[in-house]
Amino acid sequence: MTEPLHERRAGAPAILETWNGEAVDVRAVPVLPVARFRAVILEVLREGGRLAAFFGRPVDGRVVVTAALADDPEGKLGLLSTVVDGAYPALSSEAPQAQGFERELAEQYGVVPEGHPWLKPLRFEPPHREVRDPFGRSDPAATIPGEYPFYRVEGEEVHEVAVGPVHAGIIEPGHFRFQCHGEEVFHLEIVLGYQHRGAERMLAGGPDRRSLVVAESIAGDTSVGHGLAYVKALESLSGVAAPARAMALRGVALELERLANHVGDIGALANDVGFLPTASYCGALRADFLNALAEICGNRFGRSLLVHGGVRFDLSSDSALALAARLRESWGQVKGAAGLFFESPSVRARLEETGRVSRETALEIGLVGPAARASGVDRDVRRDHAFGIYRFAHVPVVTADSGDVFSRAWIRFLESDRSVAFAVSQLENLPDGDVRAPPARLAPDRLVVSLVEGWRGEIAHVAVTDRDGRFARYKVKDPSFHNWLGLALALRDGQISDFPLCNKSFNLSYAGHDL
């Protein structure tokens, strides 16, 4: 046993303050009684704080639950823990943004959040320890997604539409169930878990030679984002600092990933409303950014670029300048192609007022990334919890206020504009020096929260090392973890025919959610 599971002395702070990428002594995280733990979290959330991570880990047969709270305006994180046995009063009943975290906790460790508004399996993963099924299923092992207590609207002329897991396009699997009255959607329920590969459990016990490729594969469209959160965690735990040139190249790669996805999404939205010129051009222009990543590291998704201690590939100053020039040119083309789309009155008419998520809702359910910013929530890890190169060079944060499909599309365009400017300026001013520092062993008994603003929003990895410096627990949170509920709520009172458009406007990760 490496940490005290008793209540701390009176007057000790209830929260351990830390920041993005600071490794703290895991024994210094306050362990509070459940009631106090809950009261402190609810108070922080009421005051505008946010749950960046919330997870369990087994310690001596009991479950230690740790919350990482984010104070965005102050750029701080707060850590606190509690020990639970069997059940505890749910946070979700008062703080809806905790709903997914508490379902996950129940599923992984059999801990029941009592009073959770609707406790259901999250991703149908086998429990991490021997437990009684918290969902009351007769045979939990035989249950696959779909066998599930769906929310049902009853009544004459109410009908149900079920879609998936296999979708019409080349898309990851998930199940969507609509409660409709005519064309109007009363409720959409999203069931995920089909993609569960056991990523967290493969990372536990590491780091080993497999860990980095697992991290890069959490969501294959976010290889750089998740890969960066992972190597950043390693560097914090081992006290290794990536050289400045590596930080700049990492920033370029992260923005290229954002650009490829945002440009692709604008094309996909154009396709969904039948505006084919932009669909075709943006579909092809997306490749310019993927190919730029391949110029740097040989892989269109940025795989193998990141290593513990820096980046694996350097760019000569000539090729950096050439790449910057190409990015400028590609962005000029995107502006033309996207301009056709955004300036077309019929397109705007279709996008505006569709799939609206209000600012209040966005805050309540803890939306992150472009989906949050499109609803007027001003949060971005690159500014609020700046890491790496973003501590030295800033990317202006853009918000919109209508919270509809139009805003989510337009935000992508505006963000891309800033990303290109950032990437170009980094490439034109790469710091001198090495791109790699020698890796080192991880310190024992440490905990680090590693946040990265991926193209979908906040990626949070939390690594806890054991006394040998190996991962006792590796917790992964993809931005989609929060945002899937946003998609469900965007459909409320909308038309069922709006679904493809709303879905594309969020474009969430199934694999990132299911892990």
Partner: protein
């Protein structure tokens, strides 16, 4: 409308020259690995020890091979091998008809054989495929989507991804096949009217990839489909769209050996 036409004129033709001309790749592109055991120091197995997916067999011996079904085309082995006994070439042609063919040695090209005459008669000019992502991370899915864009333009070869398995001639599987997705994969396969083909795209669908050995996945399509043969394996993490095109076109007998000479170095 005028703006659209103007843009169209400025933007020009985007479709790649492949397969009539050589495909172009960035200088650092990692194609088929090339091994030269003669350069291995005695008893050295550094490449195999560094490989995240145990893809290097018999390191340091004359029969040293790389299992492309497991290979993620990362750079760990190359970095572990200063003598250069293992390196990546630029050859994009990676697809094979059998799992054993994916074990490559030295610098021998890998060209997938065509289907038999009857299957080519049926599918050769029109092949409709249903894609099933079975715990794929969206990397392979993204590259399969890219095969349909105006650059790679799969439909010019009469190949198309369709919305329903009932309209399909086969399935294309991505991902290691999670236990949670196995039933849906089997149901989709069953819904395709025979004769039907199975294509496994990406390291995950061939061997489980980074997730091989995880207790909640089936280490790829062959394992999950239990006895149903896989007709084409397309390695990569993810495979480049050109590699996917190459595999499908060879399967249909639409690329001959002569094309080998046009591979750009």
């Amino acid at each position: 409308m005028i703006d659209i036409l103007q843009f169209r004129l400025r933007y020009g033709q985007q479709t790649v020259a492949f397969p009539d001309g050589p495909p172009r790749f960035p200088e650092r592109f990692r194609g088929r690995p090339v091994v030269d055991p003669a350069r291995c120091p005695d008893g050295c197995r550094a490449c195999a020890d560094a490989c995240p997916t145990e893809a290097i067999l018999d390191p340091g011996e004359a029969r040293m091979r790389v299992d492309l079904g497991r290979c993620l085309f990362c750079a760990d082995c190359v970095e572990a091998c200063p003598p250069g006994a293992i390196r990546y070439g630029h050859d994009h042609r990676l697809a094979a008809r059998s799992r054993d063919d994916l074990l490559v040695s030295r610098d021998e090209p890998l060209l997938a054989a065509a289907l038999d005459e009857e299957a080519r008669r049926l599918f050769g000019r029109s092949l409709r495929l249903r894609q099933v992502s079975a715990a794929g991370c969206n990397g392979c899915e993204a590259e399969l989507n890219a095969t349909g864009n105006i650059q790679f333009d799969l439909s010019r070869f009469g190949i198309q991804f369709v919305a329903s398995p009932r309209h399909a001639d086969g399935i294309v599987v991505t991902g290691p096949v999670s236990e949670n997705m196995r039933a849906a994969l089997l149901a989709t396969y069953e819904a395709v009217p025979p004769p039907r083909i199975v294509v496994a795209v990406g390291a995950c669908a061939i061997s489980g990839g980074p997730f091989r050995g995880s207790p909640v996945v089936h280490d790829g399509a062959a394992g999950a489909l239990g006895g149903i043969p896989v007709d084409l394996f397309v390695p990569g993490c993810p495979p480049h769209p050109i590699t996917v095109l190459d595999g499908l076109l060879r399967l249909l007998g639409r690329l001959d050996g002569d094309e080998a000479r046009r591979v750009a170095r």
